[in-house]
Amino acid sequence: MKVLVCISNVPDTTTKITFNDDNKSLNINGVQFIINPYDEIALTRALELTEAQGGTVTVLHVGDSSTEPTLRKALAIGAHDAVRIDALPRDAFFVAMQISAYAKEQNYDLILTGRESIDYNGAQVSSMLAELLDLPSVNIVKSLQIEGGQASLEREIEGGKEVISCPLPLVASATEGMAEPRIPNMRGIMSARTKPLTVVPAVEVPVYQHIERLEKPAPRSSVKLVDATETVKLVGLLHQEAKVI
C-alpha cells in the first residue's frame, strides 16, 4: 500500500501570537514550528497500517526550505521518504493544486491529511485535493481500518458518528482518536538524516485569497467575581446584565 501524508508546518500550540507591522502576517520571530498535531495523528495511523500490511509512507509539505526540520521530524517518526514542493503556501487552493499536480503521477492508495491546520483553521486542503484528483473523501475521521482494498471509516458528526465504507484510493482527514501520535526515538532520529527528501518545483497556480488584516480579539473586561454563596446573584447578572438566560 502506497500512502501519502500531507504535513502542514504550524506554530506550536502555546505560541503567543504577534503580527508584523503591516498586520497582514504572523511575526515568526522566536516562534517554534511543529508538525500540525492532526497530521501527526494521520502519520501515525499510516505507519500502523503499512507496518501491518506492508507498504510505504511518504510525507509531503508545500513550503520553503526553512520548513525542512518539520519534514525531518516526520521522517524520524517513521515515514519512509519526504517530498517538499518548493513554494510558500499562498492559500489552501494553491496548496491543494500543488499536491494534486504531484500526486496525480504517483498512484497513491491512500492520502491522509489533518482535519485542519491549527494556524488558519481552514479545513480546506483535504476536500479540495480530493476534488482535484476526482477521489472520494471523508472528513474528520476518528477511526480508519483497511482490509482488502476497502476502507472502513468513522466520521464525526453533530452529536454522533457516521460509519462509512469506501474503496481505495481515497482521501481522509484525521482527527483525535484515529491514532495516538508517536514520539520519535533515537534510532528514528538518526535514520531520518539519511532518508530521501526530494525537492520538487511548484506549478503555476492563481491565488484567490489574501489576508487583508490580522487582529487580536478585544480583551474581555476583567472578571466579575461573585461569592460562592451568592449563586442567586450570578443568575440575576446572567439574566439582566449579560442577557443570556
Binding site: P11, T13, T14, I17, L26, P37, Y38, A92, F93, A96, I118, Y120, N121, G122, A123, Q124, S127, E131, P136, S137, V138, N139, R155, E156, I157, E158, G159, G160, K161, E162, V163, I164, S165, C166, P167, T175, Y208, Q209, H210, I211, E212, L214, E215, K216, P217, S221, V223, K224, L225, A228, T231, V232, L234, V235, G236, L238, H239, A242, V244, I245
Partner: protein, 326 residues
C-alpha cells in the same frame, strides 16, 4: 446573479443554523441587490421548505433523489455546484457544520472559487472582491480575508449570525441534477447518535466540566444544570481521554470549537488549548476552587469555590429563577 445557500436538514427538519444561514444569505443578497436561493437535498416537506421564506429565501430548489438519501460529499458537492450554475450564483454559502465544512472546499474547487471558511460576519464588498472576517490561530486572532475570484464560497459559523425574520414569498421548484455513479464510492453504512440532546456546535448555552469534577460519576449535576438551561454538555480533553465523557464532547484546539452565548466552565483550569476552542463564546462563567486558575482571566463572571457546593446551589437558584419567570 444570485446568492445560493445550502439548506442542510436533519431527518427532514431544518436546523437552527440553516435559518441563520438563510438570514445571512438574504443579507448578502440584499447587499448585491439580488435574491437568496436555497438548495435542499433529501426528503423535506413543502411546509418545512417554505419556512425558509420566513428568513428571506425567495426561491427553493428541491432535490429529491433516491440516490442522495444519505450524505456523500462528492455527490452533494456536485449537486450544489450544478445548482450554482443553474441559478447564476456568484456567491455560495454553507453552514460551517461538519457537513458544510466537508462540502464547501469541493464546491470551491469545482467552481474555481475562492473560499472563506468559518465566517463570523457579513462580507464587505469592494468592487468585484469581498472581504470576510473569520477566526484564526485557534481563537487567538481574527483574519479579514479578501476573495478576488469571480465566484466565491463562504461557510458561516453556527450561532454567529442572528436570525432575522424577513417574510418572503417562496417559490419551490424541483431540481434534477446529473449524478455520476463515480460520486458514490464513499457510502454511509450506519449513523450512530451519541445522544438526542442539544447539538454541541449549535448550542446557545454550553455547560462544560473538567478534571476538577474528579470522575464520571459526578456528571449528574452537570447534566442536571445543562437540562435546566436547555444547554449542551461539553468537557476538557483529559476528561474525554480518560473516557469519563465521549470524545464528541471534547472542546478546544483539538476538539470542537464552540461559540455559544453562554459557556459555563466547571473545574477547568483554562489551559491555552482549551481556551482556543471556547474563547469566542459571548459570555463565559468560570467556577473553580483555585482563585489563581488562568480561566478567570478569560471569564466574564466567576465563582471561586468548590464545584460540589456551588453547582447544587446554582441549580436551585436557576430553578427559582425559572419558576419566577415562567
Amino acid at each position: 446573479m444570485s446568492v445560493l445557500f445550502y439548506a442542510e436538514n436533519n431527518g427532514g427538519k431544518f436546523k437552527k443554523s440553516t435559518f441563520e444561514l438563510a438570514s445571512y444569505a438574504a443579507a448578502v443578497a440584499a447587499q448585491h441587490q439580488t435574491d437568496a436561493v436555497a438548495i435542499s437535498i433529501g426528503d423535506v416537506s413543502e411546509s418545512e421548505l417554505s419556512r425558509l421564506g420566513q428568513y428571506g429565501a425567495g426561491r427553493v430548489l428541491q432535490v429529491n433523489n433516491e440516490q442522495l438519501k444519505s450524505f456523500v460529499n462528492q455527490a452533494y458537492a456536485s449537486v450544489i455546484a450544478q445548482a450554482a450554475s443553474h441559478t447564476n450564483a456568484t456567491v455560495v454559502v454553507l453552514s460551517a457544520s461538519f457537513t458544510g465544512k466537508a462540502l464547501a472546499p469541493r464546491i470551491a474547487a469545482k467552481l474555481n472559487a475562492g473560499y472563506v471558511d468559518g465566517a463570523i460576519d457579513l462580507p464587505v464588498f469592494n468592487g468585484a472582491s469581498i472581504t470576510v472576517r473569520k477566526g484564526a490561530f485557534s481563537g487567538k486572532a481574527f483574519a479579514d480575508v479578501t476573495l478576488s475570484s469571480a465566484n466565491k464560497v463562504i461557510s458561516l459559523i453556527p450561532n454567529s449570525y442572528k436570525l432575522e425574520e424577513k417574510p418572503t414569498t417562496v417559490s419551490i421548484e424541483s431540481f434534477q441534477p446529473e449524478v455520476r455513479p463515480g460520486d458514490f464510492r464513499a457510502m454511509v453504512k450506519e449513523i450512530v447518535k451519541a445522544s438526542d440532546k442539544v447539538s454541541l456546535p449549535e448550542a446557545e448555552i454550553v455547560v462544560s466540566g473538567g478534571r476538577g469534577l474528579k470522575g464520571p460519576e459526578n456528571w449528574g449535576m452537570v447534566e442536571e444544570l445543562a437540562d435546566l438551561l436547555g444547554a449542551a454538555t461539553a468537557c476538557s480533553k483529559p476528561v474525554s481521554d480518560a473516557h469519563w465523557r465521549p470524545h464528541s464532547e471534547h472542546v478546544g484546539q483539538t476538539g470542537i470549537a464552540v461559540s455559544p452565548n453562554l459557556y459555563i466552565a466547571i473545574g477547568i483550569s483554562g489551559a491555552i488549548q482549551h481556551l482556543a476552542g471556547v474563547s469566542s463564546s459571548k459570555t463565559i462563567v468560570v467556577i473553580n476552587k483555585d482563585p489563581e486558575a488562568p480561566f478567570f482571566k478569560a471569564a466574564d463572571y466567576g465563582i471561586v469555590g468548590d464545584a460540589f457546593d456551588v453547582i447544587p446551589q446554582l441549580i436551585s437558584a436557576i430553578r427559582e429563577f425559572k419558576s419566577a419567570h415562567a
